[in-house]
Symmetry: C2
Subunit: 144 residues, 2 copies
DNA sequence: TTTTAATCAGATAAAAATATCTGATTTAAC
DNA sequence: GTTAAATCAGATATTTTTATCTGATTAAAA
């Protein structure tokens, strides 16, 4: 189903981007996020909880509660979300599924794949969600 | 669990590489492959069946039966195995999981990711299993 | 202070992926 | 021809991932 990120991670990124695009407003309810992203409220709630406990977003309980970014959008990198939800496995494990390969006698796939995944890691680490929010907002609007 | 290929696909690649490394012998039984790769015989059998029906390997039934490459190892590309088992989704679907994105108003992730996945596709298409077999055989031996 | 609307936390359900079982079929060797 | 060893095909079981439900807690507003 998912390409390289888990579904949870995909939706986590989408949700954080949506929060970023709603700058200026205090908090956004999980219901609004669910409606905008066209996914069940309960599922995104679970994901938002994970992101809250890892410090990327913050939540306000009670009536008029909701979620907001925990820090400035130019301080949040995509890699933060990926690591919080999916962990670091994709950046370290063998792409062919061999257990405990030390890459002492690397197979020919190793070099190319290492380079690709390193570039991916670099991209995710460099890009802040600040750079993304407006374009993705348009994307979300096109879902309506 | 798996990075970008499904577990089936990982094991499919491993199995084809093992067949390639056993050049000269007529057929290899699924049991031998299972033992060498340290995975259940029944699971690899299912995968070998899929690869047989997609024409990458061929099988010989009955006593003394087993599997062998269907063509010269320099004619089999890694992409053949990936497409046969996992299909083309990873090369075309949105990495953020947005449905039907036409990339008319691409988000900033699009360009970088497209490039990375295109390079992956290119690598898988260019590399034949002939290039891989010896190194991977060493890898398999190190599992013992 | 009571009501209401929201998150939170943990349990549960459903779906998908992964793995295993069973029996039929095929073919080599006796 | 019979037996034995292998694939083949489809059903079933297990595990993991994805999704949903339920009830408790929190805090704003009446
Ligand atoms: S060398 Fe090959 S088998 Fe080893 S970790 Fe790298 S890709 Fe995997
Ligand atoms: S533009 Fe962005 S949202 Fe659209 S397919 Fe590309 S990565 Fe996905």
């Amino acid at each position: 189903m998912a390409i390289i990120f888990s579904r949870k991670c995909e939706l986590g990124i989408q949700a954080v981007l949506y929060l970023a695009s709603a700058e200026g407003r205090e908090v956004i309810s999980s219901e609004e996020i669910a409606n905008e992203l066209k996914i069940p409220k309960e599922f995104i709630s679970k994901i938002l909880q994970e992101l809250t406990s890892s410090g990327i977003i913050s939540s306000k309980k009670g009536k008029m509660g909701g979620f907001s970014l925990a820090k400035n959008p130019n301080k949040i990198h995509l890699i933060d979300i990926v690591l919080a939800i999916d962990g670091a496995d994709i950046f370290s494990k063998c792409v062919l599924g061999f257990p405990n390969c030390s890459s002492e006698t690397p197979c020919p796939m190793h070099a190319t794949w290492s380079q690709l995944i390193d570039e991916t890691f670099k991209m995710l680490s460099e890009e802040t969600i600040d750079n993304y929010k407006n374009k993705v907002l348009r994307k979300i609007e096109s879902l309506k």
